[in-house]
């Protein structure tokens, strides 16, 4: 298991691995927002939590089609499926690697981008907390979507169509935590819901992902 994780991380950091692309996308989207809604700082600070959450979500989404497709193309998935490691663990590790290379950098970058959008001072902590809690769910749900579409050529658009509706609850609660935190409201309820969604996704979705992956491999 460790070996698989290390390999995926190594692949992400080597040339062509795509590490940093999601981060760059996040940066660009955030910079584009003031261009589209205008530079008024009070408006920006109002929408900053939501914009940052949406940007992080889209950056996550962009990197999903590489998550399993590369291993599918070069036959690694066939070999992993016949390896002693259960496919459920394999997809969990894949999600973890995806989170470490995409989700975690987004979490770390979000406060910096918050400065650009004039995020209120109270909001930084909650933004980071909500992203730390929420982005693992995005990776796990995304892995499920990637497993569904792994055998398809040009599955990228379909992947977005399938995954985005599944992202709705995570986005709502995550952005709500950040938004409430920024204006000093209580955040406990959405925070609990967000944590619950993430925990349940991590616990249950790998089984669904492994099941659809097996179907796709045959």
């Amino acid at each position: 298991m460790i070996a698989l994780l290390m390999r995926d991380l190594k692949l992400a950091f080597r040339a062509g691995g795509g590490f940093g692309l999601g981060l760059a996308f996040f940066l660009i989207v955030t910079i584009m927002v003031p261009f589209s809604v205008g530079p008024q700082s009070d408006l920006l600070s109002k929408i900053a939590p939501g914009v940052l959450w949406l940007g992080a979500l889209l950056a996550c989404l962009l990197s999903l089609d590489r998550l399993l497709a590369l291993d599918w193309e070069d036959g690694s998935l066939d070999l992993l499926a016949t390896a002693p490691l259960p496919l459920e663990s394999t997809v969990t590790i894949k999600s973890l690697a995806h989170w470490l290379t995409t989700g975690l950098p987004l979490v770390l970058a979000a406060p910096v981008l918050g400065v650009l959008l004039n995020l209120p001072a109270a909001g930084y902590l909650w933004l980071v907390v909500s992203l730390v809690l929420g982005t693992p769910a995005l990776s796990v749900i995304g892995t499920f979507g990637a497993a569904l579409t792994v055998g398809l050529k040009r599955g990228g658009l379909l992947l977005s169509l399938l995954v985005l509706p599944l992202y709705v609850p995570t986005l709502i609660f995550g952005a709500e935590v950040a938004r409430r935190g920024a204006i000093g409201m209580e955040t406990q309820t959405p925070l609990m819901m967000l944590a619950g969604i993430t925990a349940a996704s991590i616990a249950l979705l790998p089984f669904a992902s492994a099941a659809v992956l097996r179907v796709n491999l045959r």
């Binding site: 499920f144 569904l148 579409t149 055998g151 398809l152 599955g155 379909l158 169509l161 399938l162 985005l164 509706p165 599944l166 709705v168 609850p169 709502i172 609660f173 709500e176 409430r180 309820t189 959405p190 819901m193 969604i197 979705l205 669904a208 099941a211 659809v212 179907v215 796709n216 045959r218």
Partner: protein
């Protein structure tokens, strides 16, 4: 006589074909009676005027939009557990019907909402949930269309339907929470009073009976359409199978 023998495509076709004329006629009759009764022989609402009459399309469509997904969930489970092809095909056949019902509910809702709330669209929890439900239908249908192998497609869409159902329910609660957070309840209450089933308890019997007839009509129409489209899917599969047989060299 076991229920499951209707899972044989031939038996299914033979049985449903016997019922089809009955289903078409009764659904047509119910809809005609319900709609004419509702549109022309019920008084206008004292507050909403004649706009209230769109209820006879809106409520049944909304009901069927949800129940259609529920039916797909059940047939998907049957496919995953018992591997009856007809079950998977019925789920596939129902999806576009459900999507259309969702659109009808959304459009009639908008037409109703315009004079009532002065806006075509409101990010009310109910409306928003229906929009999300529509997205789920879209994704489900797109996945069916994208995969060549029918068994693979049936398996994948069934799992998507299962997972999607959980997330659809989650979204429903999330949206509820999210909008109350924004609007502090006021418009939500009004929206809740005019949309959905709690209307039936508030409106008087004058509106209630034609509404029931309309709902019965929609249910019958839905069953007829699902049977009809499942038959089409079965025949399409048979064509495919015969072509494949030819390729193998029979």
């Amino acid at each position: 006589m076991s229920f499951w023998e209707y899972a044989n495509p031939k038996k299914f076709l033979a049985t449903t074909e016997r019922f089809m004329p009955f289903l078409w006629i009764t659904s047509g009759a119910c809809l005609a009676v319900g709609l004419i009764w509702g549109f022309f022989f019920t008084p206008d609402d004292y507050r909403q005027g004649s706009t209230v009459k769109i209820i006879y399309l809106h409520v049944p469509a909304a009901l069927m939009a949800i129940n259609c997904w529920f039916m797909m969930l059940i047939t998907s489970l049957v496919w995953l557990v018992r591997r009856h092809h007809v079950s998977a095909l019925a789920a596939r056949a129902a999806a576009p019907i459900g999507a259309v019902m969702t659109v009808i509910a959304l459009v009639t809702g908008a037409i109703w909402g315009q004079p009532m709330w002065g806006t075509w669209w409101e990010w009310d929890p109910r409306l928003t949930s229906f929009l999300i439900l529509f997205l789920f239908y879209l994704g489900y249908m797109a996945l069916w269309e994208a995969i060549d192998n029918p068994d693979t497609a049936a398996d994948l869409t069934s799992v998507l339907c299962l997972v999607g159902s959980v997330f659809a329910i989650l979204s429903r609660y999330a949206v509820n929470f999210w909008n109350q957070g924004l609007h502090q309840g006021a418009s939500v209450m009004r929206a809740g009073a005019v949309t959905g089933t709690d209307t039936t308890e508030k409106v008087s019997n004058v509106f209630f009976f034609p509404l029931m007839v309309c709902i019965a009509g929609f249910i019958l129409l839905f069953i007829a359409l699902v049977f009809y489209r499942t038959g089409t899917e079965i025949r399409a599969r048979r064509t495919q199978a015969l072509l494949a047989r030819e390729r193998v060299g029979a």
